[in-house]
């Protein structure tokens, strides 16, 4: 590995780490003022918990040799990875670890303003172990069955986004609706700040996924930026045409939807494909956000509408728009019909596995005495910042 590749991968890893504080503010701005800190902490604690789980056993389970379904325990505590001889693999451990942080953090958008914080910490450990690690193994480990199937997932459409989105739906369903949701987000600048940081960090996420500083990653960078912009613009314009105003929270969400959708495709499509993917993400995620309230599921911050719909669209779009000259794989447009089947299998497998296992984990946590998914009504009314963290986000009474 050249020093340039190392330099870029260190940078990319740092960028992906920053996405999680970015997500903290993106989500934090969307909730009521009395739950901002709790929402931020959902993401921040993912940095603390997942980093530790990852080096202890997560990496080994995900990328240890194992079999087609799961890794093994050969690298527990990163055992057997020599700092000098295996530095390239350690760099891979780092970069992949950042993905293991943000994926469960994404889930939390569905459960804000009512989920019990201690239970969440336990959930983090179990979900990384039993859901994230296996799916990462399937898709990205050399032994993984979806890897062998040739499923296209450049930077984590299935592993990260669809996976998180289906777990989000399950969690929102099990924890139930909020008692008293606000009409509007309480801090839209935080939403935009978060989206800006996510957009910035996503360059590491996608353009780092080729694990080199080369043509593939340059292209991944370009298509990432293009799709984000196209989706943000699409979202903004739809809301402008429909209501005569352009929602800032909407445009920020649109950008994230575009970034989600380009994620699996970033190594396979060109800039025109990226425009199409971004445009599609704008339309589809917007529609999904509009429809969600009708379903009656309180996926509070639309995790499924953005990461699920965006991720599925991206996985299919990777199949549709893949260009052989870019990523070595022909897409539907270039006549490769078969790729669509593989993509559908990858999506469905992720939906099913993550849905079922996330359900089991949460059900068990709900039944364990002392845990349980939901805070008390009084705690919810008072706000989770005080009830779970003993803090107020903002002290505005000058006198306090």
């Amino acid at each position: 590995m050249e020093t340039g590749d190392i330099a870029w991968m260190l940078t990319a890893s740092a960028l992906v780490l920053l996405m999680t504080p970015g997500l903290a503010f993106f989500y934090g701005g969307l909730v009521r003022g009395r739950n901002i800190l709790n929402t931020i902490m959902f993401s921040f604690m993912a940095m603390a918990v997942a980093s530790v789980v990852w080096v202890l056993w997560g990496y080994s389970l995900a990328f240890g040799d194992g079999n087609a379904w799961i890794g093994d325990f050969s690298h527990l505590g990163l055992h057997g990875l020599d700092v000098n001889a295996d530095s390239e693999e350690l760099l891979f451990v780092i970069f992949q670890g950042m993905f293991a942080i943000i994926t469960p953090a994404l889930i939390t958008g569905a459960i804000v303003e009512r989920f019990k914080f201690t239970t969440y910490l336990v959930f983090l450990v179990l979900w990384l172990t039993f859901v994230y690690a296996p799916i990462a193994h399937w898709v990205w480990a050399g032994e993984g069955w979806l890897f062998k199937e040739g499923a296209l997932d450049f930077a984590g459409g299935t592993v990260v986004h669809i996976n998180a989105a289906v777990a989000a739906v399950v969690a929102a369903f099990l924890v139930g609706k909020r008692r008293n949701p606000a009409l509007e987000p309480s801090n839209v600048p935080y939403v935009v700040l978060g989206a800006g940081i996510l957009w910035f960090g996503w360059f590491g996420f996608n353009a780092g996924s080729g694990f080199a500083a080369n043509a593939v990653d340059i292209n991944a960078f370009l298509v990432t930026n293009t799709a984000a912009a196209a989706a943000a613009l699409t979202w903004g314009l739809i809301s402008q045409f429909q209501f005569g105003k352009m929602s800032a929270a909407g445009v920020a969400t649109g950008a994230v939807g575009g970034l989600v959708a380009i994620t699996p495709a970033a190594g396979f499509v060109g800039v025109m494909g990226a425009l199409a993917i971004g445009f599609g993400a704008g339309v589809l995620c917007y529609t999904a956000v509009q429809l969600r309230p009708k379903i009656g599921l309180d996926d509070s911050l639309d995790v499924f509408s953005v990461h699920g719909v965006g991720g599925i669209w991206g996985a299919l779009a990777a199949g549709i728009f893949a260009v052989e000259a870019i990523g070595g794989t022909k897409g539907l447009i270039e006549g490769n019909v078969g790729i669509m089947g593989t993509q559908v299998i990858a999506v469905v497998a992720t939906l099913l596995y993550s849905g079922i296992v996330s359900f089991i984990i949460l059900k068990v946590l709900d039944l364990i005495p002392g845990l349980g998914l939901r805070v008390s009504e009084a705690d919810e009314d008072q706000g989770l910042d005080i009830s779970q963290h003993g803090e107020r986000a903002f002290v505005t009474d000058g006198a306090d």
């Binding site: 009409l183 509007e184 979202w235 903004g236 739809i238 809301s239 209501f243 105003k245 352009m246 929602s247 929270a249 909407g250 445009v251 920020a252 969400t253 649109g254 917007y286 956000v289 509009q290 969600r292 309230p293 639309d302």
Partner: protein
């Protein structure tokens, strides 16, 4: 002494306070409130550009001043004149409430009554 409380549009506050000073008002204070009256609220996005809803309440500012009874008419007139937006007067321009104050005390000196305001 009487208390005058004027609920006005936030963007009119500097005009109203200037008018108060001009009318000889000895002091006042103001703070943000969220109000609902005949004004039919405001359209806001919910669901990030995906839907709009009417928030029935609107931001207002309440300006209060405590004055001597004899200043009452002048002060009320000053507020009414300055609180209106450009044009005829619109729904939501505001409301004034007048009530009795029994006593006032200046902390610095301990003065009571009219001398304190």
């Amino acid at each position: 002494m009487i208390s005058i409380e004027a609920i006005v549009r936030p963007e009119r506050v500097s005009q109203v306070t200037a008018a108060l000073v001009e009318a000889g008002c000895p002091g006042f204070y103001y703070y943000n409130i969220t109000g609902q009256g005949r004004q039919h609220g405001v359209e806001v996005f919910v669901g990030r550009g995906g839907a709009m809803a009417t928030r029935s309440t609107v931001p207002k500012t309440l300006i209060r001043t405590v004055i001597n009874e004899d200043q009452k008419d002048a002060i009320v007139a000053a507020i009414v004149a300055s609180a209106k937006g450009p044009g005829e007067g619109d729904i939501g321009d505001g409301k004034i409430f007048v009530s009795q104050i029994e006593d006032a005390v200046r902390v610095r000196t301990g003065d009571h009554g009219a001398a304190a305001i």
